[in-house]
Each structure stands twice: as structure tokens, then as C-alpha cells.
């Protein structure tokens, strides 16, 4: 772990790039990007302060997709709120559900049975691959490579098919229940997952073939949007972005939840913390997720899929914070119970929201075209940023 002394947080002001004296005296240009812009992945509005093409600073204006998820939670029972969490990070709905269910289970002091745990891990890791594939396609599209988008969507489709066969929904799955699972794995689930693993392994090589050594891709991503591990920690940035900056931290390893401690996998880290490293980290993460799935699908035990949970969920008075490693970073739920059937307060700690805060720092001194690359590499989902 890093030396604590070097981890002292930087003041953001130190990052303001010193004004380049060699340039002509030009007025600072303030331009607006979004909320309707093809490359901001949803309704993100970014106000850029420019010197020519160079970014001096930027401000994110968010909230266009605010739906008051936390307020809704206070007016729904614990079980009723479960589907709502899928609508936050809608490309990784299964992860959201896992975090919420585990948090409530922790509050109830129950544990899902092992079989449910295994199926949960398989679906969550499948979802991680799907999320990373969607990220890769759109990120490459932003940088101008149109082909990876079609490749990744073709392969993501196979994951969605498994979800659909499992629970009937493709995107907002509502796959898990508090205490375990509602549905037993369908006949042939294991075979489907094994087939998928076999199918997608060469496909990930294919993506890498298109991009990893592509000179233009290297030029567009290397040294772009650099953020140090120290800054990541100060800004609370988690997930692949943190790991690409060299901090080997993954909640699945650091504070294992579900049954991740049963599986053998590695945490990839980067060296430079630039866009290219983040790309590589996510590519390795996809492969590691496949590794976890392979182990999990081999080891699914027989047994019940639902723990003993009362029909009416009434957790005791208390509060809990539980977080999981979502595809985008630390997804935490802070739930306060007053002993009634409805949560007194649900706070979602969204990874996208906190990661987006680093955009300003990562874009300073870069060019306008890089802002698009950096937004892509942060892998934000506006549904989660705005909730």
C-alpha cells in the first residue's frame, strides 16, 4: 500500500495549469457542450473554459436525469424498492441489485444460501462484462473507430440472452431478491454460461486486435486524461480508473462480499493512469470476470436459493453501509432503518457521480477533443450520476 504521507490530498488549485506565456493573448473562451451532444453519453452538460483548443477548466452540470431515487426509497418497502435500483446504472443493473440486496440482508443479519451466492456471482460478472463491452464500443466510437461498437454489441447480446432466459428481462433485470434469488437457474443455464465463456474469449482478443496496438488509438489515448493514484484517492475515484492509476484496490479482494473469496482472480493495475491504461485494465477485467465465471459455474452447489427471510421485511432499528465493486467503481448503499417496513433513509453512493468529479482535473491542459475521450474513459452512466 502506498505511503500515507504521499496520500495527502492535493488542493485542486495546484492543478490549474500555469498559463502558457507563448501563446497570443486570447480571451478565455467559454463553450457549452451538451446536454444534447452525441459524445457525452446521455444528458451531461459540460461548460468548458478554453484557451484556444486547450482546456483551462470545466464544470459539469448534472441533474437532467434526476428522478429522486432516494426519496422514492423512503416511500417504498424494502422489497418494492429493489427494482428501482436497476434504473440507476442501467447498463449494470445486476450489480446494483446485488449491492442493494446484500445491504438489506446485512441489515437483517441473514445470508443468502451458497447456491444463490454462486448464481449471483455468475450473473454479476456477466453483467460486468456487458458493461465493459458497452463502454468499449461507445468509447471507441467517440474516438472515431466505428467497428468495435458493432463487435461489442454483438457479443453483449449473448449476455443479455442469458439474462432474458434467466429472469425475462434484458436490461433492468431485477434478478435478485432480498435473501437470495426468486428464480432457480433454468435448465441449461450452466451450459449456456460455459458456451458464452468459450464464445467470448476469442472475441475479446478480437477487440484487442483492433485497438491495442493501433497507432492512432495509442496516440489518442496515451497520456490523455492522466490522473495519479493520489489524486484518485483524494477525489474518491474508484473502480478501473483508480486501478489504472496504480492503486491495487478492488472491494472484491479488499473486503470480499458475496462469496468472492472463494474465487481465484487477479486485479489488474496500470502504471500511468492515462486513458490507454484504463482501456487495458478494463480489457483484463473482462478476462478476469470470465475466469470467475468459469470457476463459479463449475462449483454451483445444490441447495436452496432463498434464505429464511420474513415475508414482510422489517429490519431492526439500525443503519448499515455496504458497498460492492460495480463495473464502474465502489457502489455503496447506506441504509437507515427505523424498524418499519420502509427504509427510513437510503443513500446510494454512486461510482459514476464521484468519478465524474475527476473530469475537471483530468481534462485540464488537454485539448477539446480529449474531453470526449476522457468522458468516455470515465465510463459514466448518467442514470447513476443523477439518480
Amino acid at each position: 500500500m502506498t505511503d500515507p504521507k504521499t496520500l495527502s490530498p492535493p488542493s485542486l488549485e495546484t492543478h490549474v495549469a500555469a498559463r502558457d506565456e507563448t501563446f497570443l493573448d486570447t480571451n478565455e473562451l467559454v463553450i457549452n457542450m451538451g446536454p444534447q451532444h452525441p459524445a457525452t453519453h446521455g444528458v451531461l452538460r459540460v461548460i468548458l473554459r478554453l484557451d484556444g483548443e486547450k482546456v483551462l477548466g470545466l464544470e459539469c452540470v448534472i441533474g437532467y436525469l434526476h428522478r429522486g431515487v432516494e426519496k422514492i426509497a423512503e416511500n417504498r418497502t424494502y422489497a418494492m424498492f429493489n427494482p428501482y435500483v436497476d434504473r440507476m446504472d442501467y447498463v449494470a443493473a445486476v450489480s446494483n441489485g446485488l449491492g442493494y440486496c446484500e445491504a438489506v440482508e446485512k441489515l437483517l443479519n441473514v445470508e443468502a444460501p451458497p447456491r444463490a451466492q454462486y448464481i449471483r456471482v455468475i450473473l454479476t460478472e456477466l453483467n460486468r462484462i456487458a458493461s465493459h463491452q458497452l463502454w468499449l464500443g461507445t468509447h471507441a466510437l467517440d474516438i472515431g473507430a466505428i467497428t468495435p461498437l458493432f463487435y461489442t454489441f454483438r457479443d453483449r447480446e449473448e449476455i443479455l440472452k442469458i439474462f432474458e432466459k434467466y429472469c425475462g428481462a434484458r436490461l433492468t433485470t431485477h434478478a435478485f431478491r432480498i435473501g437470495g434469488l426468486q428464480y432457480e437457474a433454468y435448465d441449461g443455464f450452466e451450459q449456456d454460461v460455459k458456451n458464452f465463456v468459450k464464445f467470448v474469449k476469442p472475441k475479446i482478443d478480437e477487440y484487442e486486435e483492433l485497438l491495442t496496438t493501433n497507432r492512432i488509438w495509442l496516440e489518442r489515448t496515451k497520456g490523455v486524461g492522466v490522473i495519479s493514484g493520489r489524486d484518485c484517492i483524494a477525489l474518491g475515484v474508484t473502480g478501473p480508473v483508480l486501478r489504472a492509476s496504480g492503486v491495487k484496490w478492488d472491494i472484491r479482494k479488499a473486503q470480499p462480499y458475496a462469496n468472492y473469496k472463494n474465487f481465484d482472480f487477479e486485479i489488474p493495475t496500470g502504471l500511468n493512469g492515462d486513458t490507454y491504461d484504463r482501456y487495458l485494465v478494463r480489457m483484463v477485467e473482462m478476462r478476469q470476470a470470465l475466469r470467475i465465471i468459469e470457476q463459479a459455474v463449475e462449483g454451483i452447489p445444490e441447495g436452496p436459493i432463498m434464505a429464511k427471510v420474513p415475508k414482510v421485511i422489517k429490519p431492526p432499528v439500525g443503519e448499515i453501509y455496504h458497498s460492492i465493486e460495480a463495473p464502474k467503481g465502489e457502489l455503496g448503499y447506506f441504509i437507515v432503518s427505523d424498524g418499519s417496513t420502509q427504509p427510513y433513509r437510503v443513500r446510494v453512493r454512486p461510482p459514476s457521480f464521484v468519478n465524474l468529479q475527476a473530469l475537471d482535473l483530468m481534462c485540464r491542459g488537454q485539448l477539446v477533443a480529449d474531453v470526449i475521450a476522457v468522458i468516455g474513459t470515465l465510463d459514466i452512466v448518467l442514470g447513476e450520476v443523477d439518480r
Partner: protein
């Protein structure tokens, strides 16, 4: 009186046929007009084919099918597109400068199509042969940037303006490197007995005379020059990976964001025509223009006959492909018309192929066929690039142009000049070196 006038007209028309010159040089106005119309029609058909081919090839590269609904395998899609574009409302933004907005697409089209009057499809198959042919091509094709800038400015909108500025900076920058590469090829023409030339037809004839495509001349100098040109020409035509003026994720559609309908289709036409024009330059300067492969090594009546079958065979192959695909169409009544249409299309292609076997014709279309085939290879490259590469950032694009291509081009130019002055050194030192290298490779493998 009347018959003598008719006779003189017929004489006038026929007099050209016996001459072995382009109509422009022969001063025959009738045939010049015919050639202009033919070239215009040919380029337009080429653009239509490109439209379909790009969509299909790109789709297949991206595991999609591409257009499949309009006609069998989407063959009628370009026609449907053209109709749609013609029928669409022609919008001129209220704040736009209407006159300039109106003129801009015509400037672009004019520049893109005018260059074709010197493109040599064969020793006599060009509208005219200019003494300054290559200069004319470069000059006129560089005029299209004017149209782009006026279009961007006249739209009175941010994205088009930024797109136009980018486009102009990009085209002006890459023209320099492009010019250097061209000059190095022109220098190679001066090694012939007749001296150097700027004429497009002359350049191809010099290659024939020196018995080498300039891409292989002074290996690897010619190859490097060709590579510089091949990169610069993509930047010149604003295509991927240099498509910043139209970068979708940054500038929506670049300089033609505000254009719609017919006017937009003019830009589309000009873009593809310009792609063909620069490809023609590359083919003429480095790939031996209309010359068939190995005209000097594989000569004689038998080889001539074999190579003269290629055009017909190509069309027969395409026709056969159509029949093969027609046989694979779903056997459902709904697809009856489509299947028949595809078969009919194949039949037409096959018929054309058969016609191209007729003795008198097959010799005459040879030159055109080989030239077109080489240009088509470039067109495929364009599509391939688009399917493969991400987009450069603007400063990187400028860096490639000014810091890589330009110095390389200058060094190349000097090297070529030195080598051209001392060809005997090249023949005595470098050529044996390459031969020795080749021998080494042969021994190893």
C-alpha cells in the same frame, strides 16, 4: 449541299477515330463533348456504386448486413437514396448567407469533376492531354477547399464553421506533402529519353518506357513517395482516419451540417468524385495508369490475348456471383421478385461480360478496365480504413502532416534528385545490394 454538309459532319466525326490522340489534343469538339459526357456519367455511376459498396463492405466488416430491403441485397438502395434526397425539402437557414450558401456546393462539385478531363483512362482515352496535366489536377482539386470553407461560413453556425476551418487547415497542410511526393515522381519521368513531363498521359508512357511502375522505381524511394501521397490523399479528401472536419462525435457533420436534400447530395457526390480523382492521380503517377500488369515481361500476342480476356471475365464473375446469390435467396413467394431481379442483374452483367469478349471491343476497353480496377482497389482501401481506424486528434493530424510527412517528403525529394543525377551509382551499388538481399532471403527460406 445538304448531303455534303452531312458528309463533312460524318467525316469530322470519323476523322478522330483514326487518330491516336485524345479528342482535346486532336481538337475534335464532337468527341471531346462525348468524352466529357462519358466521363461525367462514368464518375456519377462510380459514385453510385461506391455508395452501395461502401455500405455493404463496411456492414460486412462490422458483422452487419447493410442495406437488404430495397432491391435484392439492397442493390437499388442508391437509387432510393438519390430519390429521397431529391425530394427532400431544401432548407436554407434563415441566418445563412443565401447566395454563398447556394454557390458553395457547386464550387465543390465543379472542382471535383473538372479534374477528370485530364485523367488518362488510356493512351487516347482522356478528354484532353494537358502539358501541365498533374499541375492542373492538383490546382483544381485544391479549389474544392474554397467550396468547403464558403459552405461552412455561409451556414452561419458553429459546427460547420469549425468543420470548415479544420478542413481548410488540413487540406492546405497536406497539399504540401502531397506536392513533394508528386514532384519526386515527376523527377523520375525526366530519366526517359524524351525528358520529363507533367502530362498525365506522358507520365504513364514514361513508366512504360522505363519498364517500371514508379512505385518500384529506385526502390524504396518510389514506394515512400507513394506512401506519402497515399496518406496525404486521404487527408485531402477528409476521409477516415483524417475525417476531422466531419467528426461525428465532435462536430456532428462538419461543414455540411446545415445542408439538406439536393445540396447535401452535391457534397456527397463531390466527396466521392474527389476520392476517385486523387486515386486516379496515385494510379497514374505510381501504379502505371492504364498499363496492364507486366506489359514488358509478359508481352507477345498470346499474353495480349490472355490479358484482354480479363474485363469480360470480371463481369462474368460478377454475374455468376449474382446467380449464385440468387440461388441462395429464401425460397418464399415474397422473395420471388427479388430473386428474379438479382438473376436479371446477373444476366445483364454476364451479357456485358460477353460483349467485352468481342474482338474489336476487348482490345479497346483493356486500358479503361485496368485503370478502373486500380482505382477501385484504392476505393476499397478507403472503406477499409474507415472500418479500422479511430480518428486522429487535430494537433496529431497536423503533426503527422508537418512533422512527419513534410520532412520525409523533402528528404525524399533530395534523395530522388541525387539518385536521378547519378543513376549509374544506383545501378552499380544499390540495385546489387537489393539483389543480394533478395538472394539472402531466398537462401534463408
Amino acid at each position: 449541299m445538304n448531303s455534303s454538309l452531312l458528309q463533312s459532319i460524318v467525316d469530322y466525326v470519323q476523322s478522330y477515330l483514326s487518330s491516336n490522340q485524345t479528342p482535346g489534343v486532336a481538337g475534335n469538339w464532337f468527341w471531346a463533348t462525348v468524352y466529357v459526357l462519358l466521363v461525367f456519367a462514368g464518375v456519377s455511376v462510380g459514385v453510385i456504386c461506391m455508395n452501395w459498396l461502401e455500405r455493404k463492405i463496411l456492414a460486412h466488416m462490422q458483422v452487419r448486413l447493410g442495406p437488404m430491403r430495397v432491391g435484392p441485397h439492397g442493390l437499388l438502395q442508391p437509387i432510393a437514396d438519390a430519390l429521397k434526397l431529391l425530394l427532400k425539402e431544401d432548407i436554407i437557414p434563415a441566418e445563412a448567407d443565401a447566395l454563398v450558401f447556394w454557390i458553395a456546393p457547386f464550387i465543390v462539385d465543379l472542382a471535383a469533376f473538372t479534374v477528370f478531363i485530364v485523367v488518362p483512362f488510356g493512351p487516347a482515352h482522356a478528354v484532353t492531354d494537358m502539358n501541365i496535366g498533374i499541375l492542373f489536377m492538383l490546382g483544381v482539386s485544391s479549389l474544392s477547399v474554397l467550396g468547403i470553407v464558403t459552405a461552412g461560413w455561409a451556414s452561419n453556425s458553429h459546427y460547420p464553421l469549425i468543420g470548415a476551418l479544420r478542413s481548410s487547415a488540413q487540406m492546405v497542410s497536406y497539399e504540401v506533402a502531397m506536392g513533394l511526393a508528386v514532384v519526386s515522381a515527376i523527377m523520375m519521368t525526366s530519366l526517359s529519353a524524351e525528358g520529363g513531363t507533367l502530362s498525365m498521359i506522358g507520365i504513364v508512357q514514361r513508366q512504360q518506357e522505363q519498364q517500371v511502375w514508379f512505385v518500384f522505381k529506385f526502390f524504396p524511394l518510389g514506394l515512400v513517395a507513394f506512401a506519402i501521397f497515399a496518406i496525404a490523399m486521404i487527408a485531402e479528401t477528409n476521409r477516415a482516419p483524417f475525417d476531422l472536419p466531419e467528426a461525428e462525435s465532435e462536430l456532428t457533420a462538419g461543414f455540411h451540417t446545415e445542408y439538406s436534400g439536393f445540396r447535401w447530395s452535391l457534397f456527397f457526390l463531390a466527396e466521392y468524385a474527389a476520392m476517385m480523382a486523387v486515386s486516379s492521380i496515385a494510379v497514374t503517377l505510381w501504379l502505371g495508369g492504364w498499363l496492364r500488369p507486366f506489359p514488358n515481361a509478359l508481352h507477345g500476342a498470346t499474353w495480349d490475348l490472355i490479358f484482354s480476356f480479363f474485363p469480360g471475365l470480371t463481369f462474368l464473375f460478377l454475374g455468376g456471383l449474382c446467380f449464385f446469390n440468387a440461388s441462395r435467396m429464401p425460397k418464399h413467394p415474397f422473395f420471388k421478385i427479388q430473386t428474379m431481379g438479382l438473376a436479371a442483374f446477373g444476366a445483364v452483367l454476364g451479357l456485358i461480360g460477353l460483349v467485352l469478349f468481342v474482338p474489336g471491343i476487348r482490345e479497346r476497353v483493356q486500358d479503361i478496365f485496368w485503370f478502373t480496377a486500380k482505382v477501385a482497389a484504392f476505393m476499397y482501401l478507403y472503406i477499409w480504413y474507415r472500418g479500422t481506424f479511430p480518428r486522429y486528434r487535430f494537433d496529431q493530424l497536423m503533426k503527422v502532416g508537418w512533422k512527419v510527412l513534410l520532412p520525409t517528403g523533402l528528404a525524399l525529394l533530395i534523395l530522388t534528385a541525387v539518385v536521378a543525377m547519378r543513376t549509374e551509382v544506383w545501378a552499380e551499388v544499390v540495385v546489387p545490394m537489393w539483389l543480394g538481399f533478395a538472394d539472402l532471403l531466398r537462401r534463408i527460406f
